[in-house]
C-alpha cells in the first residue's frame, strides 16, 4: 500500500489553493449533481467531513438524502469517463491519505480502489457475479492488486473466508453465490472487500437485507475486523440502532447536505437539529418503556430537483417560524459549531434549540 501512496503523491497534487489535509480521509464541499430531463438532481450538495484511521463514521438519512451517492463518489464510481453514460457533475475535493481523488488520474484511482479503499454493498446477491464461484471472485479482487499466481491467491481467499466465519472455507471457496445463504453472501462480500487490507472500508447499508440475528453477527464481524485491521470505516444506514452500535461519529444527511455532525453520544443525547429530533422520535425503541405514540416527522422527504429554498427541512420543521425575518425559508443555514466537535445547520440559536430539546423533545422520547 505504501509504495502506491508514494507514487501517487505526484499525481494527486492539490489543484486548488487549499493545502493537503492532515486527516486520513477528508471530504471538502463535495457536490454530486446529475443532469436529467426534468432538471438538475442535486444528490449531494456541499458535504464536508474528516475521518481518521481506526475510527468509524456513521452516515444516516432517509432514502434520497444522498448517503449512497456520497459513498459512490468517494469510491470514484460516479466519474463520467469517456464511456460513462451517467454524466455526473462532481466538484469538491476528496483527500485520501494525502491524495486528492477527484483530480487524480483515473488509472491512479483504479489502483487505489479495492486496495486502499473498498466497499461492501447492500445487496450481496446483485453485487456478486452469479456465473463465477465465490473463490474466483475473491481471487480476482486479490490478483488485480497483487502480482501472485492463482494458487497463492486462492490460499488467501480461503484464509479470508475463514476469517469472516464461513464454515469449511476450503470447500465453500468453490461454491457459487446462489449456494450461499444471505448472511453467508454478505460475509463473502466482506471477505472480498478486505482481501487487500484496505485502509478505508465503506459499508453501504451492509445489513439492511438481513434478518436481525444475522445482522447482529455481521455487525459483530465488522467491529472485530476493524479492531484487527485498524481501518477507517464509513457505515451508511437508515437504522439508528446500527449506527449507535458501530460509530464513533455520526453525520446526519438531509436533502443532500449534512444537517448535523458530531460524536455519537452528542448526536444521540444532545442533538441540535430538528430533523435529528424527528428521526429519534419516529423510532419505536425496545430499550425504553412503551411510548404512547410515535412522534413522526410530518410530510415527506424533498425532491432533490426542487430542494426547498432556505433550510431544506423547513416545510417539515415544526419550529420553522421561530427564527425572525423568515430566515428559514430564504437563507440556507450553514453548519455551525454547537459544542466541541459537534456541528449543526439550523437558524435557531443554540439556546433555543437546547431549550426545545430538553423541555419538549427529550421527555417524550
Amino acid at each position: 500500500m505504501t509504495e502506491l501512496s508514494k507514487t501517487g503523491a505526484a499525481v494527486g497534487e492539490p489543484t486548488g489553493t487549499s493545502p493537503a489535509p492532515t486527516a486520513f480521509l477528508e471530504v471538502r464541499d463535495l457536490k454530486v449533481h446529475f443532469p436529467t430531463d426534468d432538471g438538475l438532481v442535486k444528490s449531494v450538495d456541499g458535504l464536508s467531513f474528516q475521518l481518521e484511521k481506526g475510527k468509524t463514521l456513521g452516515i444516516v438519512g432517509e432514502s434520497g438524502s444522498g448517503k449512497s451517492v456520497t459513498s459512490l463518489g468517494i469510491m470514484g464510481l460516479h466519474t463520467a469517463g469517456q464511456y460513462g453514460r451517467r454524466k455526473a457533475q462532481i466538484s469538491g475535493e476528496i483527500w485520501l491519505d494525502g491524495t486528492e481523488l477527484l483530480s487524480a488520474d483515473p488509472d491512479q484511482v483504479r489502483r487505489l480502489r479495492g486496495r486502499e479503499m473498498a466497499m461492501i454493498f447492500q445487496d450481496p446477491l446483485s453485487a456478486l457475479h452469479p456465473y463465477f464461484t465465490i473463490g474466483h471472485q475473491i481471487v480476482e479482487a486479490y490478483r488485480v492488486h497483487h502480482n501472485v499466481d492463482k494458487k497463492v491467491a486462492k490460499r488467501r481467499a480461503v484464509e479470508m473466508l475463514d476469517r469472516v466465519g464461513i464454515p469449511q472455507p476450503d470447500k465453500r471457496v468453490d461454491s457459487y453465490p446462489h449456494e450461499f445463504s444471505g448472511g453467508m453472501r454478505q460475509r463473502a462480500m466482506i471477505a472480498m472487500a478486505l482481501v487487500n487490507n484496505p485502509e478505508l472500508l465503506i459499508a453501504d447499508e451492509p445489513t439492511t437485507a438481513l434478518d436481525v440475528t444475522v445482522q447482529a453477527q455481521i455487525l459483530d464481524l465488522i467491529r472485530d475486523l476493524q479492531k484487527e485491521f485498524g481501518s477507517a470505516v464509513i457505515i451508511i444506514t437508515h437504522d439508528l440502532g446500527v449506527v449507535a452500535e458501530l460509530s464513533d461519529d455520526i453525520l446526519v444527511m438531509y436533502g443532500g447536505r449534512c444537517v448535523e455532525r458530531g460524536p455519537a453520544e452528542k448526536v444521540f443525547y444532545e442533538p441540535r437539529h430538528p430533523y435529528t429530533w424527528g428521526l429519534l422520535g419516529s423510532m419505536p425503541r425496545l430499550d425504553r418503556e412503551q411510548q404512547e405514540r410515535l412522534i413522526p416527522v410530518k410530510g415527506s422527504p424533498p425532491s432533490l430537483i426542487n430542494i426547498p429554498s432556505g433550510c431544506a427541512f423547513n416545510p417539515r420543521c415544526p419550529y420553522a417560524d421561530i427564527p425572525k425575518d423568515d430566515l428559514t425559508r430564504t437563507v440556507r443555514p450553514e453548519l455551525a459549531e454547537v459544542g466541541s466537535q459537534h456541528w449543526a445547520a439550523c437558524h435557531m440559536t443554540t439556546e433555543q434549540r437546547e431549550r426545545i430539546w430538553t423541555e419538549e423533545i427529550a421527555p417524550k422520547l
Binding site: G182, H238, L240, G241, L246, L286, D287, Q290, V297
Partner: protein
C-alpha cells in the same frame, strides 16, 4: 405502565363480535408446498412453510407475528385470509369454518377480512387511478355506499390523510408513504372486521414509518378494527401489538402478551431474537455481552430438525430436545411457550441435563453474564414453584454437565 390506546375499553367493534370475543381461530394449520421433480413431476418433498400452528385472534386486539425470513409468517397471513389453500388444519372466522370454502363461498367474507401488503409499489395497479383502485372493492362486492362510490372514496382518502382531490391521480404520482396510505384506504373500504397487514411499514423510511404506524393506531381506535400485523422488526411489533406470536420454522414457539414477552421472554429463541436488535444508544456500544449471538442460519424448512426445531442453534438443548417436540403450552397466564428448558421459568424437563455438543458450542457465544442471569432467574422461579407445591426435592434445573443424570439421558454427543 401506560395503557396502550388500542386496548382501552372504549373500542367500538363493528359487527357481531364483541371486543374480547374470539374472531378468528386457527388450529393445526399447515401449508406444505410440494417440490416436484422429473418428467412426471412426481412429488419428492415439501417445503413445510407452516407446520401446525394454533392461535386465536380476539376482536379489537392486535396480534403481532414476528420471525426471521422463511419462518412462514407471510404464508400464515395468506392462509388466514384464504389466499392460499391450507394443507391441513382449520380456520374459523366468527365461529364459522372457512378452511375449504370456495371462491363464491368466500366472497361475502372478503368484506370482513382485508389485507395490507408490504410493497406499496407492486400492490397498486399503475394503470388505474387511485379512485378506481380504492373504489374497486365496492364494484366487486356490488355495494353502493351512501352518496355514491366517488364520495365514499374521497372520504376514505381524507380518513387516511390524503387529499381527496387526488382522486384522479395515478399511483406513480405518490411517494412510498402515500402509496401505503392508498393501500390502507382500499383495505378499509368495506369496513372489514379483520385486517391482516403483511410488513406494512418495512418498505418505508423511518420518519414515514412512524406516520403509518400512528395512522394504523388511530384507525383501530376509530373503527374498532382487529389487526394481525406481520413484521420482522421487533420494535415496531412491540409498539403496535397487544399480543405477539414468535414463529420459527413454521411453528409458533411463543405466544404471549406484549408485556410478558418483552419483559420475560421464555423461549430461548425469543430471547436471542430480542437481544439481537441493535439499540439506538451509543452508551451501550460496549455492552456487547448482553447479546446472544445465534450460530449459523435457519435450517431448511424442507427437512426441519427433529424434536424442537430450534435445538440446532440453542444453547440449552439437551437430548430430549432432539427427540420430543415440545408442545405449545400455557406456562404462565397469557404466555404460551413451546420449550423443554424455558428461560425465566421452571424447567420442563429437569431430569434431562446433558447439554448437546452443539449447545455447548452455542453457549460459547453467549456471555457468562447472560448464562448466569438466566440460571438465576430460572432457579428463582423453580424455587418459588417448589415452595408452592411443597416439593421437598430440589427442583433447580441448573445442574452442571458433570452431574448429569446418567439413567434418563445417556449423553449422546455427536
Amino acid at each position: 405502565m401506560s395503557i396502550p390506546a388500542q386496548s382501552e375499553g372504549t373500542v367500538i367493534t363493528k359487527g357481531d363480535a364483541a371486543p374480547g370475543e374470539i374472531l378468528l381461530k386457527v388450529s393445526g394449520l399447515q401449508k406444505h408446498f410440494p417440490i416436484r421433480k422429473g418428467l412426471l413431476q412426481r412429488q419428492v418433498g415439501a417445503v413445510r412453510a407452516v407446520d401446525g400452528i394454533d392461535f386465536e385472534v380476539r376482536a379489537g386486539e392486535t396480534l403481532g407475528v414476528v420471525g426471521e425470513s422463511g419462518c412462514g409468517k407471510s404464508t400464515m397471513g395468506r392462509l388466514i385470509t384464504r389466499l392460499l389453500e391450507p394443507t391441513a388444519g382449520t380456520v374459523e372466522f366468527e365461529g364459522k369454518d372457512i378452511t375449504h370454502l370456495g371462491v363464491s363461498g368466500m366472497r361475502p367474507l372478503r368484506r370482513d377480512v382485508q389485507m395490507i401488503f408490504q410493497d406499496p409499489y407492486s400492490s397498486l395497479n399503475p394503470r388505474h387511478t387511485i379512485g378506481t383502485i380504492i373504489g374497486a372493492p365496492f364494484r366487486l362486492q356490488g355495494v353502493t355506499p351512501e352518496g355514491g362510490i366517488k364520495k365514499e372514496v374521497q372520504r376514505l382518502l381524507s380518513v387516511v390523510g390524503l387529499n381527496p382531490e387526488h382522486y384522479n391521480r395515478y399511483p406513480h404520482e405518490f411517494s412510498g408513504g402515500q402509496r401505503q396510505r392508498i393501500g390502507i384506504a382500499r383495505a378499509l373500504a368495506l369496513n372489514p372486521k379483520l385486517v391482516v397487514a403483511d410488513e406494512p411499514v418495512s418498505a418505508l423510511d423511518v420518519s414515514i414509518q412512524a406516520q403509518v404506524v400512528n395512522l394504523l393506531d388511530d384507525l383501530q381506535q376509530e373503527l374498532g378494527l382487529t389487526y394481525v400485523i406481520i413484521a420482522h422488526d421487533l420494535s415496531v411489533v412491540r409498539h403496535v401489538s397487544d399480543r405477539i406470536a414468535v414463529m420459527y420454522l413454521g411453528k409458533i414457539v411463543e405466544l404471549a402478551d406484549r408485556e410478558s414477552l418483552y419483559k420475560a421472554p421464555m423461549h430461548p429463541y425469543t430471547k436471542a431474537l430480542m437481544s439481537a436488535v441493535p439499540i439506538p444508544d451509543p452508551r451501550r456500544k460496549n455492552a456487547k455481552s448482553e447479546r446472544i449471538l445465534l450460530k449459523g442460519d435457519v435450517p431448511s424448512p424442507i427437512s426441519p430438525p427433529s424434536g424442537c426445531r430450534f435445538h440446532t442453534r440453542c444453547w440449552k438443548a439437551t437430548q430430549i430436545c432432539t427427540t420430543t417436540e415440545p408442545p405449545l403450552i400455557e406456562l404462565k397466564p397469557g404466555q404460551r411457550v413451546a420449550c423443554h428448558h424455558p428461560e425465566n421459568f421452571e424447567d420442563q424437563a429437569p431430569q434431562d441435563t446433558v447439554l448437546l455438543s452443539v449447545a455447548k458450542e452455542a453457549a460459547e457465544l453467549v456471555s457468562d453474564e447472560v448464562l448466569a442471569e438466566s440460571a438465576e432467574t430460572s432457579a428463582a422461579v423453580a424455587a418459588e414453584v417448589a415452595a408452592e407445591v411443597e416439593v421437598a426435592e430440589d427442583a433447580a434445573p441448573e445442574a452442571s454437565e458433570d452431574e448429569a443424570s446418567e439413567d434418563e439421558a445417556p449423553a449422546k454427543e455427536k
